[in-house]
Amino acid sequence: MTVVKLLLNKNNIFVTFSFFILLFFSFGSFFISFPHDPYVTDIANRLLEPNETYIFGTDEVGFDVFSRTIVAGKIDLFISLSGTIVALIIGLPLGLLASEKTRRAERIMKVLDMFQAFPLLVLAIVIVAMWGNNIRNVIFAIILINVPRFTRLIRSEALTVREKRFIEVATAMGGSNSRIIFKHLMPNILGTLLAQASITTAHSIVVVAALSFIGIGVVPPEASWGSMIRAGSQYMTTGQWWTSLFPGLAILVCVLSFNTISQFILRKYESL
């Protein structure tokens, strides 16, 4: 209920708007009956400029850009969200472990530092290319490049909280390690964590798009924003802008929405 109340507050109009945009791209394709099937090509009408029947135009093989832009959201957002959530689930215990003052913690951080020396986007491309083009491997790549980020963030947050007086008191009163972590540490880093998860999802959308843009991961006939931009990319030099523009704008809008939500979460937790 509190969520609904927050969304209805007129100070949060942008947040509400963002929330609905993301809902629309995630589930909209299940409810809308498209005038043109997103998976059927209209060979006779290729590269058609936006008009009354095809409001976003058609691409080089005659796919309807409008319906595919919406259908693509379902897959792209699913991959980004699930990858982020799993990365968070793995990164949380790792980060909490690394925030202890032990040798093991130091080692975890050393390995992570080394890992981050690699260009992560290229690493994601290598993984998907070598392991095969399917959604599972794209999700795996997203998890792999995001686990170090979460671990690092959770560690630094936990380190600051551990310095606080109430942790000292809890330890002095004989609180067990797990009690301190779950009762005292977790609630205090939750806000930053959720905010970061939202930003990471936004970033993952771009990574997924980059993968399909170079032709791996989610590939046609399956619709994804990256592969749609790829299909239109060569026509930008000859002026057929619509195939690439609309999926690109969809990415832009979704990323902005996740960022807005992230800032909102941070604000809420800071004011608490």
């Binding site: 020396a117 690699f118 491309i125 771009v206 170079i214 931009i229 030099t237 002026g239 832009l252």
Partner: protein
């Protein structure tokens, strides 16, 4: 002082070893069989075995790892599976092209980021800050390859300000004699100013694409760091002394130098991987575009070589940065001693 530098440098061999091991693992520990993909679905078992033998995939993981380390100790990264060109030679050939792109993009990113960031910091909370924040948010949300395509449409197709995105030169232009492999540097060395001009024109689109994209990160850092410096006690003191606004701003800038330099180094190292997709969009023929081609062909030695190389570049950049910072920032020198 020397002790700090020594401490940082002694870490390099160990770190290089870990980086090279990780590069090996990433490429060699795969659930599927890359040979299936290389050979294609219809290849016979015999062909597949031949490919396996040639790539050394018939041996087990530890044997492969040892021979990889052995090659590395002799300074070899192996040769491309398809073209047989040594990987190091290809890296050498394409490195300077990417280097030129990165330098130009960095300059643009720094200029733009600095303008937006200082506007935001100086007018914190006021109208210019809000505008620059809005612009930076939007820039940050656009995928760089999409931004590149938009710029192609507007600057090339609509306004015809720049040449077609067909590579480093026009289709009929001759490249200068190869010295470093970097086209712009080579044409300066050859004294060939016409080629230099053409090359520079072709560099406009990719470098402003990357420049705009990365200006958002740099702009945010500058805003925060400079903003803190502008609110510090010493700036207040400088203002109280009646120094001019510009002078006070410059003092704040000196105070904020360490994080800003750190960010430049991080962007520099990061761009070696991040420029890859932009290089393919603009047919730039740099090391990133080369790597993506090789990855899509599953050219295992080349992929391994590139990942290792990129890892080492980051490692060396960061070490150099650490040393540089201890030189220019006495505060950090005190803390590490």
């Amino acid at each position: 002082m020397l002790k700090i530098i020594f401490k940082k440098l002694i870490f390099i061999p160990i770190a290089s070893f870990i980086v090279s091991s990780l590069a090996f693992l990433v490429v060699n520990v795969t659930p599927g069989d890359p040979v299936e993909v290389i050979a294609g679905g219809i290849a016979s078992e015999e062909t597949k075995n031949e490919i396996r033998a040639e790539l050394g995939l018939d041996k087990n993981l530890s044997e492969r790892y040892l021979s990889y380390l052995n090659d590395l100790s002799e300074g070899s990264l192996g040769s491309s599976f398809y073209t047989k060109v040594p990987v190091l030679e290809s890296i050498n050939q394409y490195l300077f092209d990417t280097f030129e792109l990165i330098i130009m993009s960095l300059i643009i990113a720094l200029l733009l980021g600095f303008i937006f960031g200082s506007l935001g910091a100086y007018f914190r909370g006021k109208f210019p800050d809000k505008i620059s924040n809005l612009i930076l948010s939007v820039i940050q949300a656009v995928p760089d390859f999409f931004l590149g395509l938009l710029l192609i449409y507007f600057l090339f197709f609509k306004l015809q300000l720049v040449p077609a995105p067909v590579g480093r030169l026009g289709l009929l232009d001759l490249p200068p004699e190869e010295v470093t492999g970097g086209l712009l540097i080579d044409s300066i060395i050859a004294g060939n100013w016409d080629t230099f001009k053409i090359g520079l024109k072709h560099a406009i689109l990719p470098s402003i694409t990357l420049g705009i994209f990365y200006s958002s990160y740099f702009g945010r850092t500058t805003r925060n760091v400079l903003g803190n410096a502008l609110n510090s006690n010493q700036v207040e003191f400088a203002k109280a002394l009646g120094l001019s606004k510009l002078r006070v701003f410059l003092y704040a800038l000196v105070d904020a130098r360490t994080p800003i330099i750190t960010y430049i180094a991080i962007l520099f190292a990061g761009l070696f991987g991040a420029s890859a997709i932009i290089e393919t969009v603009f047919a730039w023929n740099g090391i990133g575009g080369w790597a993506i081609d090789k990855i899509l062909m599953l050219d295992i030695p080349a992929i391994q070589g590139f990942i290792l190389f990129a890892g080492l570049i980051t490692l060396f950049t960061y070490t150099f940065l650490d040393i540089l910072i201890t030189f220019i920032d006495p505060r950090i020198r005190k803390n590490t001693l």
